[in-house]
Amino acid sequence: MDRVEIVKVSDCIWEIPKRGKMRVPGRVFASDELIKQIENEQALQQVINVAHLPGIVNWSLAMPDIHWGYGFPIGGVAAFDVEEGVISPGGVGYDINCGVRLARTNLFIADVREKLDSLIHHLYNNIPAGVGSKSVIKKLSKGELSDLVQKGVKWAIERGFGSEEDKFSIESEGQLSQIDVSYISETAFERGREQIGTLGSGNHFLEIDVVDKIYDKDLAGYFKLQQDTIAVLIHSGSRGFGHQICEDYIKILSKHIHEFNIEIPDKQLICAPFKSNVGQQYFHSMNCAANFAFVNRQILMHLAKQSFLQTLGLSENELGMELIYDVCHNMAKVEEHIIDREKRNLVVHRKGATRAFPKNHPLLPKKYQNVGQPVIIPGDMGRYSFLCIGLEKALEITFGSTCHGAGRVASRSQMIKQMKNVDLKKDLLARGVVVMAQSRNSIAEEMPQAYKDVSKVVDVMENIGVSKKVVRLKPIGVIKG
């Protein structure tokens, strides 16, 4: 592997100079410590590869949680001009609108400590997860699933999963309107029919957290979070429905790419001009999958709430579970940005990156206009996660984006080997975390050692003024597929 030339621009900002057929330079946000890890990965070559794509604007970006992905790196952000640029399924990822949501409760650690085991068991039994899991909702017909992906989260709210208010705490209010179900394959529909309201496997999880550190008391108060408040964090996406759409369009676009005279340095960077017919077909299908994912997380939160109510014997008012925000990690969105003092419409690809708009941004919900967008950054299941907010600088240097998590440092297979002789549940219990999962390996692969320390990642984004910490959350219970 050739070493990638990288130059320090300022504290926590590094540049990969433009060379060869790169259309723009690469930009990496990392501390001196993190850059040493990043430099040893193939991910920097992927930042360079992305810089080759037509219509890319300013830079090919990498957040500090960058790691190797299929085609685009995970933790990558790239914006393309709507008229001259492309859209790429590999720039969004297989799990379209994989994302996280955070809900707060009226409970404190003392209210759940004694019943934590029962609560985790109840959640594990109540929330379908892992291979072969089926929805708690009867298998949907194709017509019903079409209705679901058109209405987005409204579909779930109409059926009693959550309240009307929830949609104001979801990116794009949980419903993207530029959709067309006629561009979606029968196989994708078949995969989606039984998977709504299922957690999935891999790095997806549902976590009970406790607020263990407050960085900004006023903002924490705005989100109704205090020291020791119990919160629920959910990480899931569009399940087989989104994966099938990605897979279908990688295949479809591969057949069309010669028509567009686009050279790509990696097959997984397959793309099409955004305004082409096939580019629009992918965009409209991708948005359907995004709506599916919003509904999925909405139902998962409802199921979690039921488990809390039943296990703890509380009323809804006593529990007070309220959605703080739901953010996408894997999406391409058309957004207006200021480039060289001009307003331009860009297709912003965030793959393993979070939108982080500052206060007063027109796309933020009314209730967050005065504080900025809540940004939820999960870490690993043994340490902590963060609730942050987006800042003005994000619009200047990251197309309104920040990191999305800790970022892997060890592959899944490495972790299985490394954890072979470790009593995983005992190890996590010693860290104060109760865990239930479908298999031993799904715990081994996600042990804290597999990830960077998320606090170092979040600090980089705070240092460069892109997002700011509000509270730190510590996991106390986790369920996984």
Binding site: Y70, G71, G130, G132, R191, G202, K267, Q268, Q438, S439
Partner: protein, 126 residues
């Protein structure tokens, strides 16, 4: 990265099926009670192979069927793959399930032949 080899195309496909199953579940705990037949076409060997892996993923993740035994015949003239699977529906109380494979990716995919041995390398998204 999944790396498989076989002494013929058919054996390469069969060994691939066992490798894919091994990622998703413990094949030892599955019985071969039910037979299923899959037929599909591909545009050449690479396309047939990719369709084969994708069909196996769908059998498990969409149809909730675990296979134990497999037979593959490749009809070169028609670029057709006929797959016979013997297994049973998923029973969460009986079977040991590991993880879902969500997709076969294009990343670093390769099919190769050295002497009489055929090799496949591919990455799946889990």
């Amino acid at each position: 990265m999944v790396e498989v080899r076989g002494r013929s195309k058919e054996l390469l496909f069969i060994n691939t099926a066992y490798a894919v199953a091994g990622i998703m579940y413990n094949i030892e705990k599955v019985t071969s009670q039910v037979k299923r037949i899959l037929r599909f076409n591909g545009d050449g060997l690479e396309d047939m192979f990719k369709s084969f892996v994708r069909n196996l993923i769908l059998v498990v993740c969409k149809d909730h069927f675990l296979y134990k035994k497999i037979n593959v015949s490749l009809k070169k003239s028609a670029n057709e793959v006929v797959v016979k699977l013997w297994g049973e529906p998923i029973d969460k109380n009986k079977h040991e399930l590991f993880k879902e494979i969500k997709a076969l990716t294009e990343h670093q995919f390769s099919l190769d032949k050295k002497g009489r041995i055929r090799y496949a390398k591919f990455v799946v998204d889990v």
